[in-house]
């Protein structure tokens, strides 16, 4: 243990080796029992799981709406929904999927569960604030759902003025819902930033942070800086509707393009809120399943930060046809291309990590491969849309719809599924059925491309987005796309079934480190104990040093925090080093 003795001297700590058992006597879920304990818990893991449940529920609702609107498009004009209902369905699909599913998905569910464990902390910096953010999320969701009951919203998820200021649908409750959800997002981001700065265990320098943490850090920065602007924008929109303040509505002397500037100043960075955590998951998966040190650690870490910063300077590319000045459009178009650089850096680094690695194609790795394939298509089509002249043709067509589904669903949602399969054994202590998981991944990949690649073609041919009707020549493509959604639905149903089954009596018990990972979450028990570790881990090697023996990752010091002083009772096997 020459390495660890060197570190000992550096940190001035008396390190001990703590070999945790596979399974604890009492895990986090058993530590406090009953519904009330769940609803009032401040444990980041339980809050993460509650978020996961809520997000899964809203994904189900948003998914049903998607099936509904694709089914309606089976024939031109009316199939079974009238035009107003169709407008409401696509608005709700977009609003639910973005604000209730994608924005919170990885940070609030998987990030909440794993970020504190990955930095060796007992919890996030502000556990009560974390619980509060969950309830704020539920309150925001309630407002949004309330709008469905009271006449829904038909503006599209972007709530563009002047239509949103004048339509008879319940824009106020929906926008208030999104306003409230924003605070939940801000609190999560704030908690993560403070946790990463202040609660890292000894030895865990920024350069040894798992890349998932880096990506959540970049995400949190955007959440902190962009979300308040959305909040004030929606507040002004609510005021526009209630008091007619005349800032956005041209009929009252206002400027609708100003609304678009405000909205996209948040909502463009927000697409990076929705993708950066996915990048983090892909970095973890590719390193673990290639058993190779990640290629270009700092490039991947800092490219997330670069995307976060450049992301604030490109919002105008949503407004190339909104009457923005030509000079602004040229500048925004140019800066938009810059986003491609850090993103490309990531893709190349992931591929380079796999080169000469010991690749094992387990389910999470399949999702990572699907991600690389789909996200690359999504990224490239994004660059085409950022090109001024091309955008004039493709603006507001199915090409745009396909592009953002390739990055949001093909990117973030696939990464989320990858993360879910990577960490499911750690979260639940159970292993899912690998064969069914592979079948589902295959169905999702196939169904996704059937649904959305078709839409690139439709868009390039001129099919406008959000239209209820279309010309007869497009019917076969529309129908093919609709069939694709059924394949997707089948894939997601299979996932739901095997994941629930793994929790049942026949579920296979998972070991504490099924993938032989090196970051801290793999070193604690499965499922983790209440405060994550029974000791304070001390980090000696990087999170991707697979060439170092696992024993060198198990060092730590006695926990001497407040509260659980009996922690050392659980240590099954301790050996002292270099005291």
């Amino acid at each position: 243990m020459s390495t660890s003795s060197g570190i000992n001297a550096d940190l001035g700590l008396k390190l001990k080796r703590f070999v945790t058992p596979d399974h604890p006597e009492v895990n986090y879920a058993q530590a406090e029992k009953g519904i009330k304990a769940w609803l009032t818990t401040v444990d980041h893991k339980k809050i993460g799981l509650m978020y996961l449940g809520a997000i899964a529920f809203f994904f189900f609702i948003g998914g049903l709406l998607a099936l509904l609107l694709r089914a309606e498009l089976w024939t031109p004009a009316k199939t079974f929904l009238d035009a107003d209902a169709y407008n409401q369905v696509f608005t709700l699909h977009g609003a639910i999927m973005i604000f209730l599913v994608l924005v919170p998905s990885v940070p609030a569910a998987l990030g909440n569960f794993f970020l504190p464990i990955m930095v060796g902390a007992k919890d996030v910096a502000f556990p009560r604030l974390n619980l509060l953010s969950f309830y704020i999320y539920l309150a925001g969701a309630t407002f949004s759902l309330y709008s469905i009951v009271t006449g829904a919203v038909d503006t599209g998820w972007t709530f563009y003025t002047p239509y949103s200021a004048t339509t008879g649908t319940s824009v106020v409750s929906m926008t208030l819902g999104v306003f409230i959800l924003g605070f939940s997002s801000i609190l999560t981001g704030l908690n993560f930033i403070v946790t990463l700065h202040k609660l890292r265990v000894p030895g865990l320098t920024w350069g040894k942070l798992p890349l998932f943490c880096w990506s959540l850090y970049a995400t949190s920065v955007i959440q902190i800086l962009a979300t308040p602007v959305l909040a004030i924008t929606l507040m002004l929109l609510v005021m526009e509707r209630t008091l007619k303040i005349g800032i956005f509505d041209p009929a009252l002397g206002g400027d609708p393009v100003l609304y678009q500037h405000f909205f996209w100043f948040y909502s463009h960075p927000a697409v990076y809120i929705m993708i950066l955590p996915g990048f983090g998951i892909i970095s973890e998966i590719i390193a673990i399943f290639s058993k190779r040190r990640i290629f270009g650690y700092w490039f991947i870490a800092l490219s997330s930060m670069a995307i976060a910063l450049i992301g604030f300077l490109v919002w105008g590319h949503h407004m190339f046809v909104s009457g923005q000045s030509t000079l602004s459009s040229i500048v925004f178009s140019l800066i938009t291309f810059f986003v491609g650089i850090p993103t490309g850096i990531k893709i190349f680094n992931w591929v380079a990590t796999m080169y000469k690695g010991s690749i094992s194609m387990r389910t999470p790795m399949w999702y990572a491969m699907i991600f690389l394939f789909l996200f690359t298509i999504g990224g490239f089509t994004g660059v085409t849309l950022g090109t001024l002249s091309v955008d004039v043709h493709l603006h507001d067509t199915y090409y745009v719809v396909a592009h953002f589904h390739y990055v949001m669903m093909g990117g973030m949602l696939i990464a989320f599924l990858g993360g879910l399969h990577l960490w499911w054994p750690k979260m639940t202590g159970r292993m899912y059925n690998e064969r069914w998981a592979n079948i589902a991944a295959f169905l999702i990949f196939t169904g996704f491309n059937m649904t959305f690649f078709t839409q690139f073609i439709l868009g390039a041919k001129g099919m406008p987005r959000r239209y209820y009707n279309y010309i007869d020549q497009f019917q076969s493509l529309h129908q093919f796309s609709t069939v694709g959604t059924w394949v997707l639905a089948l894939g997601f149903t299979i996932i739901l079934i095997y994941l629930l089954q793994s929790l049942g009596k026949k579920g296979v018990i998972a070991s504490k480190n099924p993938w032989n990972g090196r970051s801290l979450e793999w070193l604690t028990t499965t499922p983790p104990v209440l405060e994550n570790f029974t000791y304070t881990p001390v980090v000696i090697h990087g999170p991707y040093d697979f060439h170092k023996p696992i024993a060198e990752f198990e060092y730590g010091i006695e926990s001497h925090g407040h509260g659980h002083h009996d922690a050392s009772v659980h240590h099954s096997n301790e050996e002292s080093v270099n005291a």
Binding site: P228, I245, I247, H560
Partner: protein
């Protein structure tokens, strides 16, 4: 760290290693929150700047309707309240419970004074028919977009006023806690972070006052 949970250490939450880490985290968290507040107001400042660039003459005309004296008094009141807020932290650091309480009460009194003056300003304008948005009926300003200036005025000062009211609640909560003897030289984090919030509310007003009242 000793096992006996003395009064000094009992405030440290289970997931922190020591009091210093907890204090640092709380303060850092508050600073980040203040950043979000600045961006929240930033949207309104952007709206202000854009409309001012479009209609500079409107702004100079409309701002004559704002009462500079009242605005100036309010500025003084808020700056003084920031001083008493800072003094309450100083008193808590010196284990002076009585002074801490007095300074907190003076801060609350200033905040109330601010709101009362604001109330008189608002009611005077309502009396003239200067309302936000559609209800605007004032004819004294010869400009077709006059209502937009006042919409922005009410949004900015209204949102600021809401922050003052929240501040009153928070400082009152501090006062109650102080009465129970919760603060001492080793633990005064809540006063410190509410103080940061209060200074931000003060600073936003220091920007609002010249931008709205002093441009004619």
């Amino acid at each position: 760290m000793s096992h006996n949970s003395s009064a000094v250490q009992s405030h440290v939450a289970h997931h922190f290693v020591d009091s210093e880490q907890q204090f640092d985290a709380a303060k850092f968290g508050m600073w980040i929150f203040l950043v979000t507040e600045i961006l929240f107001f930033g949207g309104l400042f952007a709206a202000y700047i854009i409309y001012r660039a479009w209609y500079p003459d409107l702004y100079t005309m409309a701002s004559t309707q704002l009462d500079t004296t009242m605005g100036a008094i309010n500025t003084g009141v808020l700056i003084f309240s920031s001083l008493t807020m800072a003094l309450s932290i100083w008193a808590a650091q010196h284990n002076d419970k009585k002074k801490t309480g007095i300074f907190l009460l003076v801060t609350i009194a200033c905040a109330f004074a601010f709101m009362v003056i604001k109330y008189f300003e608002y009611t005077h304008k309502f009396h003239l028919g200067i309302f936000p948005g559609e209800a605007y009926t004032f004819t004294g300003i010869d400009h077709p977009k006059a209502h937009i200036f006042f919409s922005i005025y009410y949004m900015m000062t209204g949102l600021h006023g809401i922050h003052v009211i929240i501040g009153i609640g928070l400082i009152f909560w501090l006062w109650m806690k102080n009465n129970k003897g919760s603060f001492n030289s080793a633990y005064y984090t809540p006063i410190e972070i509410v103080g940061l919030y209060w200074h931000l509310v003060d600073i936003i007003w220091i920007f609002l006052f010249p931008l709205l009242y002093l441009i004619d």
